[in-house]
């Protein structure tokens, strides 16, 4: 029987089953509706838009659970949110009479749903909203919060949980972003082609941050970390489909996201403890996703530019392609790290290069990379620096120096999971 007919039948029987909605339906509809409606009425009304969307979702929750799903839930939501928003803006007009003068052309008559939900337009709206969030006048950490709130549909408490910060801090960051959107008339209409082009690096950066927040997070719940990675991939895929986002950097970013996400499940053992790359069960890696990542990587190589995303995707690809830890092409990994060091200088990249060189040419060569290098204080005091030096010295037979670094590493381990990992690696790791 046709699924829809079947659903109708069930609805007639007191609608005692509630049909399943797509995963993250409410959250993703929130993002879509906020993007679409704020394009229509202007980003300066974003708070009114968010209120209207919130109340439409609430109305949906109350109605659908009792009466069953409408035929087109997205169109239903759009209609309810749109009417709610128009009502609110009309009330404001009555009070202030601005709408009449400023926004007559922007706000058309309330339209009926389905035809506006052409997939292309929705994607464009989401993408546009992403570029709106990445205004250089908004600090990066506020851009991130704004994107999580408006595009991913996370609540304040959920954002705080995911970014390891307080709710008050999230409010503060969001307030800054909203203040900017309220004030800036250039944002009210559509962005210009130049604005799209000049904001692209900020957009890729925010998606990269969103991804790493999930991937590197030490949050205990895998589902929560996965969710941020999935959101980043979802938005990056939309970006890569659109002419404004079709650049080698975008493709490389998608490659690196897929190549990391493919291995995320293998990074933890059964009880949630962290696993080293060499301890991971490579059978658990998602081969299909690795393939997708490699395809994006190939696509990113067309053209002259080589970004940090290219270097990072290259490193991830080497790990994905290696049959085992020992058989990794460490020369290529080391080479990618030195390119990464040149493009995006950071002491952490040098440290990583030292690790790769040690696997490639031996621990002494690894130490050689760091010779005469003064680490910045944030790194010198971290467990990462101490752990790498403890490991390399131990493998070179310098037991005393190794012990000294090992103690520092244990002391500065930020979480019990990291500490357990260090104890395993630094006590029993295979000798040189």
């Amino acid at each position: 029987m046709d699924a829809r007919v079947k659903r109708r039948d069930q609805r007639d029987q007191h609608s005692l089953t509630t049909p399943k909605l797509a995963e993250h339906f409410f959250r993703h509809e929130y993002g879509r509706l906020v993007a679409t409606l704020s394009r229509r009425v202007g980003v300066q009304y974003i708070e009114a838009v968010e209120d209207a969307v919130q109340s439409a979702l609430m109305t949906a929750l109350e109605n659908w659970t009792i009466a069953g799903l409408p035929d087109n839930p997205s169109a239903w939501l759009f209609r309810v949110a749109h009417n709610h928003l128009m009502g609110e803006l009309r009330q404001r007009t009555a009070r202030r009479r601005i709408l009449e003068q400023n926004a007559k052309e922007d706000i058309g008559p309330p339209e009926n749903g389905p035809e506006i939900f052409l997939a292309g337009e929705v994607r464009d709206d989401l993408l546009r909203m992403l570029f709106v969030c990445c205004d250089e006048a908004i600090p990066v950490e506020s851009q991130l919060v704004l994107a999580l709130k408006t595009l991913c549909g996370f609540g304040i408490r959920e954002i705080a949980l995911r970014l390891f910060t307080s709710e008050a801090n999230v409010y503060k960051r969001l307030g800054r972003a909203l203040g900017r959107l309220r004030k800036h008339p250039t944002l009210h209409g559509d962005l210009t082609g130049d604005q799209y082009a000049s904001r692209l690096p900020a957009v890729t950066k925010i998606l990269y941050l969103l991804f790493t927040e999930g991937y590197l997070s030490s949050h205990a719940e895998m589902a929560i970390r996965r969710e941020l990675c999935d959101e980043a991939i979802r938005l990056a895929a939309i970006l890569a489909e659109h002419p404004v986002g079709q650049a080698p950097e975008t493709f490389a970013l998608l490659a690196l996201m897929h190549l990391h996400a493919a291995r995320i499940a293998a990074r933890r053992d059964g009880s949630g403890g962290l696993l080293l790359l060499e301890e991971q069960n490579r059978e658990l890696w998602d081969r299909q996703r690795i393939q997708v990542g490699l395809e994006w990587l190939a696509k990113s190589a067309q053209g002259d530019s080589f970004s940090r995303y290219h270097a990072e995707a290259g490193i991830a690809a080497e790990h994905c392609l290696a049959p085992s830890f020992q058989e990794t092409r460490w020369d290529r990994v080391a080479e990618c790290y030195s390119m990464l060091e040149r493009i995006a200088p950071s002491a952490i990249h040098k440290l990583n290069r030292a690790v790769a060189v040690a696997e490639w040419q031996g621990p002494a060569a690894g130490l050689g990379v760091l010779e005469g290098f003064e680490p910045p204080t944030w790194l010198a005091g971290s467990y990462l620096w101490a752990a790498v030096l403890a490991d390399l010295h131990r493998r070179c037979g310098k037991t005393q120096t190794a012990k000294r670094y090992r103690d520092v590493a244990f002391e500065s381990a930020p979480t019990p999971a990291v500490k357990a990992l260090l104890q395993r690696r630094l006590r029993t790791g295979s000798p040189g």
């Binding site: 007191h14 399943k20 409410f26 959920e158």
Partner: protein
């Protein structure tokens, strides 16, 4: 065992609980669906949410009410069938009507002649 019908009256305290986030709504939708499925044999009439305002009618006439300033308002109703008050209580205890802070469900058996 014969079943009796029970009227469930849901009450809530206005302004309590705040606005749920979309992710919380997803959770509520899923919980609601699971609850409905679990007690499908017991639910006679899903009833519905009651809008605010209304009239109070007596033989003398009609006045506006109930007032929204009231500490507790009736938010919805449903009818369930159950073998006993205990069973009806269990249906209500697991129902969405009691999820929000400050909300409660009153259960009254509908007497049959």
């Amino acid at each position: 065992m014969p079943k009796q019908n029970y009227l469930c009256i849901q009450r809530s305290q206005p302004g309590k609980g705040g606005k749920p986030s979309p992710a919380q709504m997803e959770e509520m939708y899923a919980k609601f669906s699971a609850w409905k499925e679990k007690f499908r044999e017991n639910i006679v009439d899903m009833g519905g949410k009651l809008k605010g305002g209304g009239k109070i009618v007596t033989s003398e006439g009609a006045t506006d009410g109930p007032f929204v300033e009231a500490k507790e308002v009736i938010g919805g109703y449903m009818i369930v069938s159950a073998e006993s008050m205990e069973q009806a209580t269990e249906v209500a205890r697991q129902s969405p009507g009691v999820w929000m802070p400050g909300s409660s469900v009153e259960i009254r058996e509908i007497s049959t002649p």
